[in-house]
Symmetry: C2
Subunit: 176 residues, 2 copies
Amino acid sequence: ASRLPGYASHQVGVAGAVVDESNGKVLVVQDKNKTLNAWKFPGGLSELGENIGATAVREVQEETGVCSEFLSLLSVRQQHDQPGAFGASDLYLICRLRPLTYSIDFCTEECLRCDWLPLAELARTEETTPITSRVARLLLHGLERGWGAVDLPMETLPAVHSGRFYQLYHRGLPLA
Amino acid sequence: ASRLPGYASHQVGVAGAVVDESNGKVLVVQDKNKTLNAWKFPGGLSELGENIGATAVREVQEETGVCSEFLSLLSVRQQHDQPGAFGASDLYLICRLRPLTYSIDFCTEECLRCDWLPLAELARTEETTPITSRVARLLLHGLERGWGAVDLPMETLPAVHSGRFYQLYHRGLPLA
């Protein structure tokens, strides 16, 4: 509870897991400039003033050409001393998105490969990162048991006095 | 997917909801320097390199004198153009904590009042913020139905190659 004014200490990144429920596939990319060819969810840094869902939709579109819409927050990752972040800590939010288009036109500057991969395969393969693998398992669980088991839906709530609005993410509640 | 180096664009705050399960009460404070005497969870800005749970425990101790331990992440709030944040966006993470001590010795520089309030009362009173009220309902639901209904547990996973570790928060998964 420092009473000094706030300062920006974190970079915030957002990844989008675009799941095609008709076939259980998810949209993944391999970064061009990394040593390991690991499948990951497309994503990147949030711009100033941009909502989490908007970042995910924008990054997915820029990297893969696929249009999508935001559904829920799935996971939060924190890491410190992120390389390239000038000492800032790093929060990475992983969202679930619904595809609106399906054909891939990926950004060749950023990506080496881009594909729709079966979730079961992504959960099993060694060609991915531990976090992507874990989120693939989470998504498989949601696909099988219903998304209510894994989702944090978003709601907009008013701030006190200021006339501003918050986006709040938490587990669904029974109707009051 | 900007390929420029990252920069810190967000301040990250953490609030701690310390729930005494023996009586269904939660630790709340009223800020000294705000116009409205609204009950809120103690909390404040994350320091550089500090884990979410560590921030919550530290802020609760500084504001209320109560010692606690981190249990889970409950909710994520995003707001833009936060007053006092110099244009930075604001992410606020609300955690669930277990009390280790119970007697209150609150910081009179920051707080006007501090008390253990029944969750049912906090969920009902007008003397609070919309978000505190919502999280009180979420906590009541967890108290009644089991914490698995509302919690995002934390796990530590290795990063690829770097030897670093991430903290990852998501809904519990059945054992593999």
